[in-house]
Symmetry: C2
Subunit: 156 residues, 2 copies
Amino acid sequence: MDVMTVTETTDTRTDTCAMPPQGDRRPDGKDKYTISEVAALTGLTAHTLRWYERIGLMPHIDRSHTGQRRYTNRDLDWLALVGKLRLTGMPVADMVRYAELVRAGDHTYAERFELLKATREDVLARIAELQGTLAVLDRKISFYADAGRALASERA
Amino acid sequence: MDVMTVTETTDTRTDTCAMPPQGDRRPDGKDKYTISEVAALTGLTAHTLRWYERIGLMPHIDRSHTGQRRYTNRDLDWLALVGKLRLTGMPVADMVRYAELVRAGDHTYAERFELLKATREDVLARIAELQGTLAVLDRKISFYADAGRALASERA
DNA sequence: TAGATCCTTGGAGTGCGCTCCAGGCAAGCG
DNA sequence: CGCTTGCCTGGAGCGCACTCCAAGGATCTA
């Protein structure tokens, strides 16, 4: 396989250092998790995990010989990314779009790059909005604190 | 009226300095806006404004002699606060709760204070989450940038 | 081998935050 | 006067992101 290949495999592996410390993962090679284990690890419900798969937000998940899902560490990495993107408020449809680009292969590299950069800008904007809101809240809070002190001194 | 009275009137007036520069407001005293004017000023739809009122998120709005709504600058201040809280992801039900506390009078002061402080903590947590997500995005973006450079040099 | 627990599926249901509709009243204008 | 525009109401509908259900098969523990 070409060393230049741009895949989510390499990509998420690059990211693992940034993941929350999930000690309960099994080592690569014998990383087989049932759906309820993944639910426990991710905080999602089994329902949601199956639903993510149905809508194309997950890659195809391995199955046991009887047809039960067996998730891998790589699937957990992908779910961690999805979780982060979800926190940004990105619509599920957009995440599905990203997943499709990843599945489509290397030639979608540029589009993925643009999508990530646009998302980054969105996140920066959201942070700025929240900081504006924080300023308003702080002003109101100090107003209430002052009013509280005034009422207290009046009672004194 | 007691100078110690804690009302949203005083409170939002305290905030006006923090509002986005809305030059198209009329001066206090002849501040009467139709619902569509308020829609234009706030970016909300008239539908949403009526709905806010129905669910108790707005105080009672003045009516013209024919029953049409006439919003005041104070109503706009309240809507600006609601807009900020909405940005934090606060559920509408919680905002309604806050509105009820304001309507209930001064004795709800402490509860409002606590609610604002809790909201502040939520906002700080959201900002931290987003910054975590930003870190992940930045790592992925630089990964794609590196991959892009590598592909470019290979083509060369 | 029995019983409890977990997993499978397609499809229906839920809660939230709007969003729109029908039918009607009121004001301004040529 | 009729026409257009804006606003009124209660209630229905919508899109999103899950969330759950029913019926049946698989797996585990004693």
